[in-house]
Subunit: 221 residues, 2 copies
DNA sequence: TCGCCCTCGTGCACGATTTCACAAAGGCCC
DNA sequence: GGGCCTTTGTGAAATCGTGCACGAGGGCGA
């Protein structure tokens, strides 16, 4: 149905990778077909949502049977653009940047780290986990030479906006921001944020509100 | 107005830390009062949303003037439970766990790392960035001795659920999961997820769809 | 003290997302 | 080949979150 309509809700897009991971697990355990119910359980959502989400990709299920695991996996990979690797650059070779370069989770899942980039000349030329640090002035060249389309900001908050601008100038329009700062990018760019301390603060909120704090005056939950 | 009503929407809760950060910046630059408009700009949202969000905390603004920065900062810190530190444990002393222990961003923002915990005896006793690795069997003791209420899962996906259960058993009911796996926790626990590869996959989707199809769009902030 | 101006707090309409419920459709057994 | 059973795909309703528009209220100048 939603074949011509190329608009997939943002909330759905955010769940697709979770389904993808579940499907990969099913392939590993040699399961041939899967029902929306089973997939829902694996992905931690509800079955109706799974069916609606998958229907945005097309009608890939078989009524009375379920979804063919391999076929769905392939279609979803294609939709997510994961049929090939996407090299990334990490901006900032400090603590966080090094840690990210060191973290195998990116490369494993099709996002090899093409380069670390830093403004500090003393860092340039060093290597972390096989990834070389380049100077930020070389960013445009690196990006075009290596086909980098995704940039990861791992600088201090103060530098984040400037770095985002440099990425944009280098033609990189997908940005993942780890810096604890609000940054703006051009309309046509995509921006996602990961703020570690922010997540903890949210947990703190719920912790605070889950049980009556003897110190807090008055209010009940 | 919403004084008796203690229910703050999840979406609002997720924005409070962003406002908090903006307020901290304003304090640094010695700004005494701030309008919803200014705060909105700093937080990257719209002014009406700021006012609505803040109204859940109480009527802390002054019409015609704006919000008193220090007072609002205090009230918000209190609401978020950030008037004191929350020690955390990091489960898993592998690549990611070490990196997180090494990352100063937690301690700086009131979440000191009390301990690293691992199941591997050969890791126990080692120290990373001043944080000692303990055996997982000692988790309950560590948690109660040090008042740890928040656990961070930094293990491989396969171990994530078991570790979540161990945290729960140790009385820890706020969990931040970095492992690329869906885990379930008891009803009364809070769970937040950070999946690095998943974020990149989402970016990949929009990248994939921005190019061939001129009408597709990315996410904005 | 009076009145004007500015910005908050919020009712309301709208849009997005979730959930329900069920008809349609494919496979399988007899 | 027909009917039954299962599970999808999808309208429609319910819920949640957003943004607008405006009345209320407070400060400040005259």
């Amino acid at each position: 149905m939603a074949d011509r309509v190329r608009h997939i809700p943002e909330a759905t897009v955010a769940r697709l990778p979770v389904y993808l991971r579940s499907l990969a697990e099913l392939v590993d355990e040699k399961t041939a077909t899967v029902s929306s119910e089973r997939l829902a359980e694996m992905a931690g959502v509800n079955a109706a949502k799974v069916r609606k989400d998958l229907s945005y990709l097309g009608s890939y299920g078989t009524r009375g049977v379920g979804y063919d695991v391999e076929y769905l996996l392939f279609q979803m990979s294609r939709e997510l653009g994961l049929t090939h690797d996407w090299p990334v650059v990490i901006m900032g070779a400090g603590n966080l940047g090094q840690a990210l370069a060191n973290y195998g989770g990116f490369t494993d899942r099709g996002f090899p780290v093409a380069a670390l980039v830093d403004a500090d000349p003393s860092k340039v030329g060093q290597t972390f986990h096989g990834v070389e640090v380049h100077h930020v002035d070389d960013l445009p060249k690196i990006a075009s030479d290596r086909g980098v389309r995704i940039g990861i900001i791992a600088t201090p908050a103060a530098a984040a906006q400037a770095v985002a601008d440099q990425l944009t100038a280098a033609g990189i329009r997908s940005i993942l921001n780890f810096a604890p700062a609000v940054i703006t990018v051009p309309e046509e760019s995509s921006l996602r944020k990961v703020d570690l301390a922010l997540e903890l603060q949210i947990l703190s909120f719920y912790q605070q509100h889950s049980q009556p704090d003897p110190e807090a005056s008055g209010s009940r939950t």
